[in-house]
């Protein structure tokens, strides 16, 4: 059985799944920490629902869903921000509005097309094992861009996340930092759909961050723990999925949940 498993690991599609999954998991883990601490965890849900509509549009137009979803989801993330600022709505209501719009659009487009429901299903529940070369290159390239941007603006993001008002008095352009965080989250959500699917994207953003918050003794430590937990969950989750023939997305989220519960247990035991 071990030999069978090791031979499966030699397949290019499995190697692509591990590489793509790990890179995207790191993104989700890092941005997730900022989002969870800003009480914006559910933005992952909202933007993934917009992705549903965007993917449906891409399939209907016979274009790559990823390329259609990227700009649309980034625009949706700015819409959430503007609704919060201009329409005097709390963030959850703004996310709810944009999210509902995405789902409604997707359902209508799916109904109109009648032909691509099977493809849409793979986006709903993820299919990391079917990630292609082109998608992998795009995921790695975009991930590199996101990570560099986070590294460059690390202290701005930290300041705004900790205390937005004080960050403004520090001369930080908080509106720009908020837009940056939204755009990075939108890109990450679109990439993460391939790993765990539209239905489970928010788990990839929230669970590693929640795990890190139980154990970390500093912000950089929290980012590191969050990233390590997320990458380990992807590797273990894909392995479980191969061995037990389970959906990879569900397995990855389940492993993340186990890590969170273990961290909670450790925290209770220690302190």
């Amino acid at each position: 059985m071990i030999m069978d498993f090791l031979s499966v690991l030699q397949f290019a599609f499995v190697q692509r799944a591990f590489l793509g999954g790990c890179v995207i998991a790191v993104l989700c883990a890092i941005l997730g920490l900022f989002l969870v601490l800003r009480k914006m965890s559910l933005i992952g849900d909202g933007l993934s629902h917009v992705s549903f509509g965007a993917v449906a549009l891409g399939l209907l137009a016979n274009m790559s869903p990823l390329y259609v979803a990227l700009p649309l989801v980034v625009l949706a993330s700015f819409a959430i921000l503007k609704l919060t600022e201009k329409a005097r709505l709390y963030g959850d209501a703004a996310i709810g509005i944009v999210s509902a719009l995405g789902i409604a659009g997707g359902v209508i487009l799916a109904s109109v097309s009648r032909g691509f429901n099977v493809d849409l299903f793979s986006y709903l529940f993820g299919s990391i094992l079917s990630i292609g070369n082109e998608e992998l290159v795009l995921a790695v390239a975009l991930s590199a861009v996101v990570l560099v941007v986070v590294a460059v603006f690390y202290n701005d993001l930290l300041a705004v996340t900790f205390d937005e008002e004080y960050a403004r008095v520090s001369g930080i352009k908080t509106a720009r930092v908020n837009m940056l965080l939204m755009a990075l989250t939108a890109v990450t959500v679109v990439l993460a759909i391939r790993v765990v699917g539209i239905m489970l994207v928010s788990a990839l953003l929230i669970l590693p961050a929640a795990t890190a918050l139980q154990l970390a003794r500093g912000f950089k430590g929290a980012l590191l723990i969050s990233a390590l937990a997320a990458v380990t969950a992807v590797i273990v989750g894909i392995c479980i999925s191969i061995v037990l023939d389970l959906p990879a997305g569900g397995a990855i989220v389940a492993v993340n949940l186990v890590f969170f519960l273990a961290a909670l247990g450790v925290k209770k035991a220690v302190g």
Binding site: L37, V152, Y154, L158, A159, E165, V169, F219
Partner: protein, 249 residues
């Protein structure tokens, strides 16, 4: 002496209600001004308007001679908000939080160096919380958190300090030490201080000037002038004026 703060005809509205009406005053280096007034008088709004944190409906604010809209020398400004607006779950250490106060001096990518570590340690020692540097902010008491946020406000060695109800969470002993620190900064480094409080008696022990706000400026001047002002006697009554002034030194 050039003005550190110049406020001219400043007005602010919230939900169509006037919160501040044509406030004007000026503060210079070395001024220690107690900003007082009844609840809902607009004290916090005034501080926030001077820092660009709330929209104003009229008038202007200048910091160090520069219009607020163009102001960029934020390293000269220290701010301690009334309520710390952060999550107790936040996994940042005291050192990391205080370090945020140094970002005003940095260009993107804002990185802290070894010299900054020394400044952070100096600010923590000044406030007697050096031993807490590795603690998480959420593990501290309200009073300790307040001192960490004051350290963040002081770490860049500002030339003006905006303090909004800074002693509300502090016990009497720490309050005294807090006021000693502020007095030393004010007198030795000539840092201008604007301190909002609802405790008129206490501020008289520390501030040299009084800015009494009740949506508009009721009084602005030296505490000693306030205490002999017949106009203020008419406004407050002899008893209240005496209560405000009896602790002034």
């Amino acid at each position: 002496m050039s003005a550190v703060i110049t406020v001219e005809q400043l007005s602010a509205r919230y939900n169509s209600v006037d919160v501040l009406q044509e406030i004007s005053f000026e503060a210079s280096a070395g001024d220690y001004i107690g900003v007082v007034g009844p609840n809902g008088a607009g004290k916090t709004t005034l501080i926030k308007a001077m820092l660009g944190l709330v929209d104003i409906s009229g008038g202007s604010v200048k910091l160090f001679g520069e219009k607020l809209q163009c102001f960029s020398q934020w390293h000269k400004v220290g701010y301690l908000p009334q309520r710390a607006n952060f999550s107790l779950l936040f996994p940042a250490s005291v050192k990391e939080i205080v370090g945020l106060g140094l970002l005003t001096q940095k260009r993107t990518p804002k990185r802290l160096g070894s010299g900054d570590e020394a400044l952070i340690d100096e600010a923590l020692e000044l406030l007697g919380i050096g031993s807490l540097r590795k603690k998480l902010i959420g593990e501290l008491s309200g009073g300790q958190q307040q001192r960490v946020l004051l350290a963040r406000a002081l770490v860049a060695k500002p030339e003006v300090l905006f303090l909004d109800e800074p002693t509300a969470a502090l016990d009497p002993q720490i309050r005294e030490s807090f006021f000693d620190t502020i007095r030393a900064l004010n007198q030795d480094a000539r840092v201008a201080v604007l301190l909002v409080t609802h405790d008129l008696g206490e501020i008289g022990q520390h501030a040299a000037k009084l800015l009494y706000v009740d949506k508009r400026v009721v009084f602005y001047g030296k505490f000693s002038d306030f205490c002999v002002s017949a106009e203020m006697t008419d406004y407050f009554g002899t008893h209240s004026q005496h209560l405000i002034c009896h602790q002034h030194r």
